[in-house]
Symmetry: C2
Subunit: 321 residues, 2 copies
């Protein structure tokens, strides 16, 4: 929620000499994404987002992320498309940061989605998984079981300071996940962070998916499990089964789940809750409280994690074969 790296009009003019996208008519830093510096750019031709990638996005991963958006877009998915420079490059270096110019998508994120929105975004996830097939580059998911163990060990001591219960919650969940995490489910490129912030709507319909900077190769059903966490819990911590049914039905209308995927949903949902619980806890412990960055409270995900640890069957998520 900030612009970390400054770009002057004069920097911009020099950069745009390498592109064939018209002359700039408006350029404003936008306050979204805790990870990168983003600017809204209007030219005499169109609107764009100029992004400079800050420390969390490794420059080595940019060809995967930018290539993926181009691949998905060519297959009809509404997502930002990196604009290639006159010499064909998808990225550049500006003020010491790698960056890209991406097409601008209309639409606004919802804060309080209704079941009908969950159905729409479930369908969009099915489309994303279908469209990603055939993408040549691979990227390992650093935030799966092995990554969670590393994160857990880094915050082990201090997590207990926040809440006395957190240390045992994490170690109990990690034991279960180590034993029960699936090894062979249908896999491919997943978004891995499809929270409400990253889905744009116009008139109640999905107009685009954004922020692919956690995308990686993993189980498709894990992406759905992330969305069960992100879209189907209420502010008070209650699981909204109606939203879950709509999300899953929307997904299955565009990509079917097999029996193994259905059976794995409770453990995948637990893993997803632990993933966000751990990263939010890590950020909470490692962010200067004085810094003007919106830290996300890890407590929400502690509650969700406990919910999934008690869940016994896919039916508790509204899921039947």
């Amino acid at each position: 929620m900030a612009v970390y790296t400054d770009v002057s009009f004069e920097d911009l003019e020099a950069l745009l000499d390498n592109y064939d996208i018209g002359a700039p008519t408006s350029f404003k830093g936008i306050a979204e994404g805790v990870e990168n510096s983003n600017f809204f750019l209007q030219t005499t031709k169109k609107s764009y987002i100029l992004t400079l990638y800050e420390k969390r996005v490794a420059a080595a991963d940019l060809p995967f992320f930018l290539g993926l958006m181009e691949h998905l877009s060519k297959r009809g998915l509404a997502c930002p498309v990196p604009v290639r420079s006159k010499s064909g490059n998808q990225s550049f270096i500006l003020n010491g940061r790698p960056g890209a110019i991406l097409s601008f998508l209309e639409g606004i994120s919802l804060r309080r989605p209704e079941p009908i929105h969950c159905a729409a975004v479930g369908a969009a996830l099915g489309d994303l998984h279908a469209a990603s097939q055939g993408y040549a580059i691979k990227r390992q998911n650093d935030l799966s079981l092995d990554g969670w163990k590393i994160l857990a060990s880094q915050i082990h001591q201090r997590s207990g300071d926040i809440h006395g219960d957190f240390k045992s919650l994490i170690s109990n969940s990690l034991s279960t996940l180590t034993m029960e995490w699936p090894t062979a489910l249908p896999s491919g490129v997943i978004h891995a962070d499809l929270f409400t912030d990253n889905v744009l709507f116009v008139n109640g319909k999905v107009s685009g998916l954004i922020d692919f900077y956690f995308a990686c190769n993993d189980f498709y059903a894990y992406d759905l499990a992330i969305m069960l966490n992100a879209w189907c819990f209420e502010q008070d911590g209650a699981f909204n089964l109606t939203k879950a049914k709509h999300l899953i039905a929307g997904y299955r209308s565009h990509r079917e789940l097999n029996a193994e995927e259905c059976a794995a949903i409770p453990i995948l949902a637990q893993g997803a809750a632990l993933r966000f619980f751990l990263t939010r806890l890590y950020d909470w412990l490692n962010t200067d409280p004085g810094a003007f960055v919106s830290r996300k409270d890890p407590l929400d995900f502690a509650k969700r994690l406990r919910f999934h640890m008690k869940a016994k069957a896919p039916a508790e998520y509204g899921l039947w074969l």
Copy 2:
């Protein structure tokens, strides 16, 4: 450089029910202005800026600021215009903050203006002063001589901690200004903060003036003196006489200066430098260094203040009758 108050899509939808500006298609917090929370809003009809006024803008002053922009715009000046709601209101309260929806202006601020830009912005200031005539509401300038004395006394002790020389610099300048500050020059509504951030350009021409939240009644020539400080010093502290000549010539081509105004330029420029020196020093001393807000270094204005204290005649600003 931040969004202080959050506005959800659902908040926005409820607000727009009171307006006749179409349905929202894009809504993004923008990272500009240290004073307010600003959002870029696109609707099915047009683009707008939605502003929520934070602590530095007093709600009681909003009718002056918003009415002024409407007045100026009706007289042909390119500036943001507050959109009136269906019931004719220029402002609203949202999430505890007063706010307004303003028309969006194309254009980008320059970081390193050339003499030709100084001429253009001088002319625009002349237009602003001409267009502001007849505006019925008045607002006293709290940041003139009396205000500087109050600010100086508030930071007196601590200013010496930043630089040993600052205490005598401030008190010497205040003595001179107290004796020599003009009492009767042509007056009216001035912008009072026309730095490069607040002037938009498209293709080298001024496309709009923005950020009227320091506007007040004072000497017209003081507004020009502020711009001599804001536009005519180089990064290394040198005064660029060519830029000053262009700025003044541009201004005089749209509003003539009389003999008293010309003679007063050196003392007005000194007052303007002291005003920004004091407020930046105040902010520097009162901002938590950990907070993610861009503090502006007061040192630049200490240098400019010293320059003006040594200036003997209007000719040193490229000004002849």
